[in-house]
C-alpha cells in the first residue's frame, strides 16, 4: 500500500465527522463560488451555468435544423412541388445534416457531460472550467454566424460530407464550401477542447474511493466518447485543411490528373464520420444506463459487460469507415475486412440492449413516466435502425440500397433512436437537478407520443421509397413513380415530430427555471451523486464512495454531505478548489485550485470565431488582427494560472493533508498536454496515411519524373539541428531545476528554439530549393503539408516559449513553480519527435519505393 493510500484509509476511518462545522465556513464557500450576475454573467464558468447554456444552445440548433427538415419535407410532400428551388434545396439538406451533426448532436452530449459529470463525480467543478466555457462561447458565436448563411443563400451545398471534386475550386468556386470547411473546422476545435476537459475530469476529479468499478456508466460513456473525439476528429481536421489548401492555393490532393484522388477525402471524412455516429450514441447509451436502473428500481444487470461493450464499440467503430464507400469500386478483399468489422460492432451494441432489457425485467414494475417512455421508445427505434444497419453492412445489399431513401431511413432510425430519444429522456430526468420545477409529466407524454408516432410515420415509409428507387438529395420527383404516397406520409410524420418538439419547447419555457439551491430535487429517486443537495459550489462536502449507487445504499449520505461531514466542507485556501484523485482507485492526491469567472476566455472565444469567419470571407487583414487578439487573450488567461505552492498543505477532513500544487505525471495539466499531443499526433498520422494512400493510387508518379530529393547531408543536418534543440532544452531544464540565474536558464532555452526554427524552416526551404512546388503535384502538396504541420507545432511552441520567458523574467516561473515550463517542454519534445519522423519519412520513402 502506498503512503497516499495509507493516509486516505486512515482519514476514512474518521469520516463522516458528525461534529458541527464552524459557521463562517459555509459563508466563505458560498462567497468563493458565487456566480457573477447581470452584465458579468457571460464570465461565469460554473459547470451548471455553462452546461445548461450549452445544452440550451444545442437544442436551439436542433430546432433550427428541424425547421430546415420541415421545409424539405414540404417540398417533397407532393411531386413537382415548387416551394424551394434546386439550389436552395441543396443548401437545405447540407445545412440540415451539418447543423444536426456538428452543432446539435456532438455539442449536446458534450454539454450534458459538462453539466452532469462534476455533480456525478461529486467534484466541485471540472479541472479546466474556463476551457469548457471557451468551448461553449466559440461554438455559440461560430455556430450562429454559420447558420445565418442560409438566409443569404451562402450556405454550403455539397452535402454534409462535402465530397470533392464537387466541393473543390472547379465546381464550387464561391465561398459556400469555405463556410463549411472553416466554420466546421473551428467547431471541431471546440469539441476537442471539451474532450480534453472530459478525459482529465473523469480520470482525475472523481470522488475519493470512486474507483473505476464504481464510476457511473455515464462517466465511462463520456470517457469513451472523449477518447473517440481525440482519435477521430483529427482526421476531419486534416481533411478540412487539405481541402481548403486545394480550394485556396490549388494544392491538388484530390485532383486525379495531378496525382491526387477524390477518394482520399472519403477515407479521411468517414474515418471521422462513422465513429461520429458512435460518438453521439455512446453518451446516449450512458444516459440509458443511468436512467434504466432508476425507472426499473433495480441495479443495472451486467455493469462489467456494459463497460466492456462501451469500450469495444469505441474501438470497433473506427474499423467501419469503408462501409460508406462500398460502391466506390474498392477491391473486394478490402471491403471484406470492413464488412466484417461492420457486423462485429453490432455485438457490443446488442450486449447493452440486452443489459437494459434484463434490468427492466429484474426490477419492480416499471413506472411509466416520461423518461421511461423515451427509454422504451429508444430501445424500439434504435433496434430497428440497428437491424437495417446489419443489412447495409453487407456489400451486395449496400450496392442496391446505397444513396437511396432506404439509407435515409436507416440513419434516422439510428440517430433519432440512438441519440434524440435518449437525450429527451435525459432532459426530463435531469431537469429537476438544475430547475426549480420538473417538466410536466402530462405534456411530456404528449411530446413522447407525437415524436414516437411521427418518427415512424416519417421514416418507416422511406424504406419502401428507397426500395422503389428514389435517390437521396433530389429536390423533387415525377408523379406516378411509386413515390407519391410514401412521401406524403413522411411529410405528415415530419410535422408530427415538429409538433412534439414545439410542445416540448413550450413546456421548457413554462417550467424551466434555472437554480441550484432550490431545485426540484431527486423526483425520480436516482441513486448517484448528482442528486446530493447542491449549491453553486456543487456538494457541500465530498463523500467517500463505496458503491455504484451510494444514495440507495446510504440514505443518510445526503444529510451528511450537506452538513459538511465529509471531505473539503469549506474553501480552505479561500479559492475555488477540488480534490484530484488517482485515475484508477481514486485515492486523493492533491487539491487543485480552479480558475474562476473571467472575460479573457470569452474574448478569446469570440475572436477565435471571428478569425475563422473572417478567413472564410477572405478578409485577411481583419483575420490577422482577430487572431492576434484571440492569442493575446489566451495568453492573458493563462498568465493567471500556475500559481505554485502558495499555500501550506491543507487538512481536507479526517486528518488528511493534501498539497495544493503538483508537478510531474500526476498533474492534471500534464495530463491535458498528453491528451493534446495525442490529438496532434493523430493529425500527423492521418497525414502520413494520406501520403501513403496517394502513393498507392499512382505509384509511378511518386515522386513525379524529374523531382530531385534533398541530399542525405541535408537530412543529417536537419536531424542534428533537432537533436541540438532537444539537448539545449534539456540543459535549460537542468539549469532551472538547479535554480541557476535567469540568464543561465534563458540562454539555452532560447537557443533551443532557434535550432528548432532552423530545423523546420530549413527543411521547407531545402524542398523549395529542389524545385518542388506544392501546386504542381499531389506529391509536392503532401511534402509541403508535412512541413506545414511541423510549422504549426513550431508556431505553438514559439508562443509558449515567449510566454514562459516572460514568466521567468518576472519571477512567475521558478524551480518550484514550473508547470508552464514543463508543459512547454513536453509539447516541444513531441514537436522534435514529429519533425524527425516526418523528415526521415519524406526524405526516405521516395528513395525506398523508387
Amino acid at each position: 500500500m502506498t503512503e497516499e493510500e495509507a493516509a486516505f484509509h486512515a482519514a476514512a476511518k474518521n469520516l463522516p465527522d458528525p461534529r458541527p462545522r464552524p459557521e463562517e465556513e459555509l459563508k466563505i464557500l458560498e462567497e468563493v463560488w458565487r456566480q457573477p450576475t447581470g452584465w458579468r454573467l457571460p464570465t461565469a464558468v460554473n459547470n451548471n451555468i455553462v452546461g445548461s447554456a450549452y445544452v440550451g444552445a444545442a437544442l436551439l440548433f436542433f430546432v433550427l435544423a428541424g425547421c430546415l427538415a420541415l421545409l424539405m419535407r414540404s417540398q417533397l410532400a407532393t411531386p413537382m412541388a415548387e416551394i424551394v428551388g434546386q439550389e436552395t434545396y441543396n443548401q437545405l439538406f447540407t445545412m440540415h445534416g451539418t447543423v444536426m451533426m456538428f452543432l446539435f448532436a456532438v455539442p449536446a452530449v458534450e454539454a450534458m457531460g459538462v453539466l452532469l459529470l462534476p455533480q456525478m463525480l461529486a467534484a466541485r467543478d471540472l479541472p479546466f472550467p474556463r476551457l469548457s466555457a471557451f468551448a461553449f462561447w466559440a461554438y455559440l458565436v461560430g455556430g450562429l454566424v454559420f447558420f445565418t448563411t442560409i438566409f443569404f443563400g451562402a450556405s454550403p451545398d455539397g452535402g454534409w460530407f462535402m465530397y470533392p471534386p464537387l466541393t473543390s475550386y472547379v465546381y464550387s468556386p464561391g465561398s459556400n464550401a469555405d463556410w463549411w470547411l472553416l466554420g466546421i473546422g473551428f467547431i471541431e476545435i471546440s469539441a476537442i477542447a471539451g474532450a480534453i476537459e472530459i478525459v482529465v475530469g473523469v480520470l482525475k476529479t472523481r470522488s475519493p474511493g470512486m474507483s473505476l468499478d464504481k464510476l457511473p456508466l455515464f462517466g465511462w460513456a463520456m470517457l469513451v466518447f472523449a477518447g473517440m473525439i481525440i482519435v477521430g476528429f483529427p482526421a476531419i481536421i486534416l481533411g478540412t485543411i487539405l481541402l481548403e489548401l486545394e480550394r485556396a492555393f490549388h494544392w491538388p490532393f484530390f485532383v486525379a490528373e495531378k496525382g491526387g484522388d477524390p477518394l482520399l477525402w472519403q477515407h479521411l471524412f468517414w474515418f471521422f464520420g462513422h465513429p461520429e455516429v458512435y460518438i453521439i450514441f455512446i453518451p446516449a447509451a450512458g444516459f440509458m444506463s443511468m436512467i434504466v436502473p432508476v425507472v426499473a428500481r433495480a441495479r443495472l444487470v451486467g455493469y462489467r459487460l456494459v463497460v466492456a461493450a462501451l469500450v469495444a464499440t469505441g474501438f470497433i467503430s473506427f474499423g467501419l469507415w469503408v462501409h460508406h464507400m462500398f460502391t466506390t469500386g474498392l477491391p473486394p478483399i478490402s471491403t471484406g475486412f470492413f464488412s466484417a468489422a461492420s457486423m462485429a460492432v453490432s455485438i457490443p451494441a446488442g450486449i447493452q440492449v440486452f443489459a437494459w432489457i434484463a434490468t427492466i425485467m429484474a426490477g419492480e414494475r416499471a413506472r411509466w413516466n416520461v423518461p421511461t417512455l423515451f427509454t422504451v421508445g429508444f430501445l424500439i427505434i434504435f433496434t430497428m435502425g440497428g437491424l437495417t444497419g446489419v443489412m447495409v453492412a453487407m456489400v451486395p445489399f449496400d450496392w442496391q440500397a446505397h444513396d437511396t431513401y432506404f439509407v435515409v431511413a436507416h440513419l434516422h432510425y439510428v440517430l433519432i433512436g440512438g441519440m434524440v430519444f435518449p437525450l429527451f429522456a435525459a432532459i426530463y430526468y435531469w431537469v429537476p437537478m438544475v430547475s426549480r420545477f420538473a417538466l410536466s409529466e402530462r405534456l411530456g407524454k404528449w411530446v413522447f407520443w407525437l415524436m414516437f408516432t411521427g418518427m415512424h410515420l416519417t421514416f418507416l415509409p422511406m424504406h419502401w421509397t428507397g426500395f422503389a428507387g428514389m435517390p437521396r438529395r433530389v429536390y423533387t420527383y415525377l408523379p406516378n413513380m411509386g413515390f407519391d404516397g410514401f412521401n406524403l406520409l413522411s411529410s405528415i410524420g415530419a410535422f408530427t415530430i415538429g409538433a412534439g418538439v414545439a410542445l416540448f419547447v413550450f413546456d421548457m419555457a413554462r417550467k424551466f427555471r434555472m437554480t441550484q439551491e432550490e431545485n426540484a430535487g431527486n423526483v425520480y429517486g436516482g441513486g448517484t451523486l448528482e442528486w446530493l443537495p447542491n449549491g453553486s459550489y456543487a456538494a457541500r462536502s465530498i463523500p467517500i464512495v463505496k458503491s455504484r449507487e451510494p444514495l440507495w445504499d446510504n440514505p443518510e449520505l445526503g444529510d451528511q454531505v450537506e452538513q459538511g461531514q465529509w471531505f473539503l466542507p469549506g474553501a480552505p485556501t479561500h479559492r475555488r478548489e477540488t480534490i484530484v484523485t488517482s485515475p484508477l482507485k481514486a485515492i486523493p492526491q492533491y487539491l487543485v485550485i480552479i480558475p474562476g469567472p473571467s472575460w479573457w476566455h470569452v474574448i478569446a472565444a469570440a475572436f477565435t470565431a471571428a478569425l475563422f469567419l473572417s478567413l472564410t470571407v477572405k478578409l485577411t487583414l481583419p483575420a490577422a488582427l482577430f487572431g492576434v487578439i484571440a492569442i493575446g487573450a489566451m495568453l492573458r488567461w493563462a498568465w493567471e494560472l500556475d500559481k505554485g505552492p502558495d499555500h501550506e498543505p491543507v487538512d481536507v477532513g479526517g486528518g488528511l493533508k493534501l498539497p495544493v500544487y503538483m508537478l510531474g505525471n500526476r498533474s492534471h495539466a500534464i495530463w491535458a498536454v498528453w491528451v493534446l499531443i495525442v490529438v496532434i499526433g493523430m493529425i500527423f498520422a492521418c497525414m502520413v496515411f494520406s501520403y501513403l494512400y496517394l502513393w498507392s493510387v499512382q505509384p509511378d508518379r511518386w515522386p513525379p519524373a524529374g523531382t530531385t530529393l534533398p541530399s542525405p547531408l541535408h537530412t543529417g543536418t536537419t536531424l542534428l539541428l533537432l537533436a541540438a534543440s532537444g539537448g539545449l532544452l534539456t540543459v535549460a531544464d537542468w539549469m532551472l531545476t538547479r535554480a541557476r540565474g535567469k540568464a543561465i536558464v534563458l540562454t539555452p532555452f532560447l537557443g533551443a528554439l532557434m535550432f528548432l526554427i532552423l530545423a523546420i524552416a530549413g527543411d521547407i526551404w531545402q524542398w523549395s530549393a529542389t524545385g518542388l512546388r506544392p501546386g504542381e503535384s499531389s506529391y509536392g502538396a503532401s511534402v509541403f503539408t508535412l512541413g506545414f504541420l511541423n510549422s504549426l507545432n513550431l508556431f505553438t511552441v514559439a508562443l509558449m516559449v515567449l510566454f514562459v520567458t516572460a514568466r521567468l523574467l518576472v519571477g512567475r516561473t521558478d524551480p518550484v513553480r514550473r508547470l508552464s515550463f514543463d508543459t512547454t517542454r513536453l509539447l516541444w519534445l513531441y514537436t522534435i519527435g514529429q519533425t524527425a519522423v516526418s523528415v526521415v519519412f519524406a526524405h526516405g520513402f521516395p528513395r525506398l519505393v523508387s
Binding site: E5, L263, G314, G319, P332, I333, S334, A340, K585, W695
Partner: protein
Amino acid sequence: MARRSLPTLAKWAVLLGGPLIWSAHLGFVYAVATVAITLTGEAGLVSRVLIGLATLVCLAATAWIGWSLWAGRLPRWETPQRDLIGLWRKAGALLCLLSFLAVLWQGLPAILIPQQPASHDDLFGGTAPPGPRSR
C-alpha cells in the same frame, strides 16, 4: 522485496489488450492487401498467407490474454481491491472474446473472397457497378 506494480498506462493496456490487437490486425491486413495490389495488381497468395499468419498470431494473443484475465492472472497489480480487479478481469476478458471474433471475421476475406470474383453482369445481368480500382 515486493516487485513494483505496473504503471497506470500498462494496466490500461492489459484491459484494452484485445481491442488493441484487433486495431493492429485491421491496420495490418488492410495495409498488406493495399500494398500487394499497388505493387502486383492483385492481393495474391503471398499477401493472403501473410494475412492468415497475422490472423493466427492475433487470435492466439487475444485468446491467451483473455484466458489469463478470466483465470485471474493479472500481472503485478499491487493492492488487492477486489471490485476493481474484478472489473479488469471480466471486462478485459469479454473485450478479448469480442476481439477474437472480430479478428476471426476480419481474417476470413483472405480465404473466402477470390481474386477475381464473378462479375456483376455474370451474376445479375444489366449494368455493373464501378469496376475495381487500385485501392
